[in-house]
Symmetry: D2
Subunit: 347 residues, 4 copies
């Protein structure tokens, strides 16, 4: 089968012909239909410090996908939940099930998580093998949307953690694809005011398309002042920190109201100086670090929002390429003009 | 000034000329613009067991209203928050501030609550005196909507308690005005599916106007079967029990999914037989009794939803009468063809 | 091997020689050391309506136990978590893992739960086969205590649900073994006042041994009046309803403070008449139905409390019998003079 | 009357004779019995940047106290809750009641808070005037303990926020008086393991006296390694960050388990460099900034714990001085050998 493979340590990826993966008794073989290209894939392409420290080539890349079930292992089949031909997506974090986080409802924080396309072969391929418990039926959601439920789920996790979105004010700081999805999730979840910021005007357009009431550009707007202005001087109930930049963190803490929350998803590549006294302690803030998607309450909420049509992530999808177009896909993302980029792999 | 007064023990109410109320240092005198007629007012009109046991005539009736500030007591003025001329509404439960519920964030459960129009003079009059801490600016919300924020707040409290509405399934059981408002609140708060039931087809029309996806009539529908059908067999996440009928309770418990919630607002006039083993314990249900509005987090969420236009309760308002039309107002409500009925008292 | 078997429809149980159970790849074979006799086992002995409707003889009885791992299936062994010789206990509810409750953190409410000793062969035997994911190491907890972690876990679930035990007032209504355990859990969890009631003076002795500050006997005490008296007139924060009697329910609702909780575990055999207006709605109560133990957060909290010595359930254990003494064990429980009764099966 | 007064900008304080404060209608005049000397009072004595930026001399200092009611304003008397002669303590944060935090259950985050002894005259005096709503009866708690319910309440707020203390593991990082109280609160609230750290061996002694299972000294212990060691490698459920030092922050984040909480009370005087990716986001941590005490749920929980004898803060009190001994009190605190220091002002 075809697969996009990191063949050796170093930048780039190759399209290669590799064997179809074999499956164990609790696994499912899935023919990949669509796959999403993620910022993580760029780090892997670039072979940055994180990637070179973690990946062990050769490895098939890709962790966001949808597909059609081709084959079930014996135990997977015995469960009777999934059938050959079902359209599905999957949680790409494969967890141990035994550690304390796994046993107490925090499987997304499993101390032995293995991620597809990072720690084991991934989804930029004609087929992928997945543990049956990670696989979910699309149940009417289109394969294209199914392919991006991983990052949409990141956004759902970020927006809903804290549980008080209806009637609230939300500031999405950083409008990459997940930030744009977060704008849509906040609107769908009943936020009364959604503000979004980014340095990139194209991304702010996408945020507006997803329903942002106000978009701010730090290069021209005093972001904190503007957030306070549109919230009666107090700041927002919830900041979704999607930028991962120290400057974003400072804006996030200053933009939250006393007693508010900052849910942090954007992964910083360097340290941030924090004035905890002024920004966290005296304000009574709650900060929360967002990892992955809650298994599987995030998925359940997301499926409901998508199926009911409350959330439509498609405006964020700006580019579609065949599997062989991976280099071009990476290029448009690096160029900064892309929202979400999709690979169209199978049918 | 004019006032609708329960002049003596027994049915009916009279429009009378009474003195404008005097105010203490922490009070506000409000010129009433609009007022809502509530089921409670019907009980008072009818002089049923509850009313005759609680009210001490003569008393001015009415607890849902909006108005314009006419005068402030010295301490109220010193606060500098409200000014003469401000358009306002008010929480009608006047609480002690000292009891444990008051001191621990449950003022709505104050053990010494006094309700306007029930325990002290109310709002069906040209003027009402209110403690300043109970008064809130309309801040752009129309006086007509302001007049019904008490029952809309009941709906907000009922729907939001539990904190997981976005992406959830909600069944509003009983479509009087508060039930209809609850349909709108659930939609505004991001519910993915809202089902509503009532025996009265006119009320189901109003529920549909407020956004119900499905409306059920127990006289022709197997309500529980239909709720399960539209929820994949499992039942809903949240039932808002607005009927107060034993039959409604049974449907509520059966319609909730395992681990679901039943938030109960409808006030029963008689006891219900409950199979706690089957309906509550083995299902892991949570039941919650809804009293009034949380002071003032319910009001804050409601104001946001109304001001953002996410929630528009106006389709539920079916009749408007002058103060002198109270008998007619009571008649249309008893007739069962009314949604919310408003008194237009001042301008 | 020896086993206590319900050989046929009808009262009683027999000690029989049956084959050692075989295990699948994800199972563990456990040599049983101790087992607890539960009220459920009495229903099965008596062959009451519930038992005759659910059990399909022949069936080995018993669902509370501890033991030593004898053998692991291939997949269970591959996990590397459990080893032959480990002392263990197990959650007796075997869940599907696929239904919405299972997928959203409510596995204890799985719609396809199968219980050992009820729906499949149980623990009153020399050996039992269990799915590896249900098995937990005792890790220093004694096998005798390990044998009753099922009912102790019921108590932990009942007391901790709601999350505000430290500094709270708790009323445990019904002092069977689980009620007595709940008294100890409430004390260990920092409750400031624990009141317990039962009709049986022997059980009240056990409740006092577990730390109850006050014990009440409804045959001589006005329970509700006394609870209010010791809580400054207001009622308790949390009622643990362990009686399952309609009279207990009435006391539970009246004893809870406004805004309080009633966590209900006792399984009623008949319906209760409830005045929802007075007892639930106007009081703003929360009722919660307790099923089983949360998987596995209840187990984690319980293990911590037991290992730290904060909770010692041993005073509740009043009788110990060999496996062959099952008839005698049932007799002492029916007699009402027993606390927890243990079978000493292996060593 | 006598009072400890900051008479002018600059270091030091003077004992002066000043007029007894006058009271408004909603105020209470309290004869001060005992008062606690706080780190804040040291900052004021030293006249550091914070103090000189906030205080406007002349001002009577002191914000932790107990006393006896001497006189009530007319409105305070009319409430009928407090009487002349009642032994009382008080919340020293005087809040506006109108801002969004005040109106939504976050009065401790009032945007217009005024603190006694900082923004208005305080409690190091024979008498203090307080708004009646801030005053609470001691109700059997000794005046000496009553005098330190402000810092004990800080500890209660820090430990209980998050709501899952029973059976949990807690690390108190920094053992000044509030840290030592936090150790006692965690034990009283049912924590299964309490670890405490400080550089000062005298403080670690006090932490052990309050019930710490393990005490660590960063000058000789690898704190993070030891915390992991005693928690099975995973880290603690809850860190109470009481040090306010960047080094403490780093230890706090590293010592918390995946999915754990860090409740931060220690006020840093400089910025901290944070690796949000490693320490917060990938670990799914929750950080929470602790300001003051929740009004008044923290007070309610604290009163229960103190009255039931579950929490005894007295081992932390190491020194007692008369009002005139303030210079000596400040000296022993600066010397680092004191736990809590009390002024004995009246009788």
């Amino acid at each position: 089968m075809r697969a996009i493979v990191k063949t050796a340590a170093g930048p780039g990826m190759q399209v290669r012909d590799v064997p179809v993966p074999s499956i164990g008794p609790s696994d499912v073989l899935i023919r990949v239909l669509n796959a999403g290209v993620c910022g993580t894939d760029l780090h892997i392409w670039e072979w940055d410090a994180w990637a070179s420290g973690r990946l062990k080539p050769p490895l098939t890349i890709g962790h966001e996908f949808s597909g059609r079930i081709e084959k079930l292992g014996s135990a997977a089949e015995a469960e009777g939940v999934l059938l050959v031909g079902d359209l599905v997506t999957a949680e790409g974090h494969i967890i141990c099930g035994h550690c304390l986080p796994c046993r107490t409802g925090n499987g997304h924080l499993c101390v032995r998580t293995r991620i597809i396309g990072v720690d084991r072969d991934g989804a930029f391929a004609d087929f992928i093998a997945m543990p049956v418990s990670n696989v979910m039926k699309l149940d009417g959601i289109s394969p294209e949307i199914g392919a991006i439920m991983d990052p949409v789920g990141n956004a759902v996790h970020t927006v809903l953690e804290g549980g008080e979105v209806p009637g609230s004010t939300v500031f999405v700081l950083g409008c990459g694809p997940i930030g744009c999805f977060a704008v849509g999730v906040a609107r769908a979840a009943g936020a009364s005011l959604v503000v979004a910021s980014d340095l990139n005007p194209r991304r702010l357009e996408l945020a507006r398309a997803m329903g942002a009431h106000h978009t701010l550009n730090p290069s021209t707007d005093d972001v904190v002042a503007r957030v306070r202005e549109v919230t009666g001087g107090l700041g927002v109930d919830l900041v979704c920190e999607m930028s991962g930049h120290p400057a974003g963190h400072a804006q996030a803490f200053s933009s939250a109201r006393p007693g508010g929350r900052v849910n942090m998803l954007g992964t910083p590549s360097r340290n941030t100086e924090v004035d905890f006294a002024r920004d966290v302690i005296f304000k009574g803030l709650t900060l929360y670090g967002v990892t992955g998607r809650k298994m599987y309450s995030t998925w359940n909420a997301m499926q409901r929002l998508l199926k009911a049509g409350q959330l439509d992530p498609r405006p964020v999808i700006t580019h579609r390429f065949p599997l062989e177009g991976i280099a071009e896909a990476v290029a448009v993302i690096k160029d900064g003009q892309a929202g979400k980029v999709i690979l169209e792999i199978g049918t």
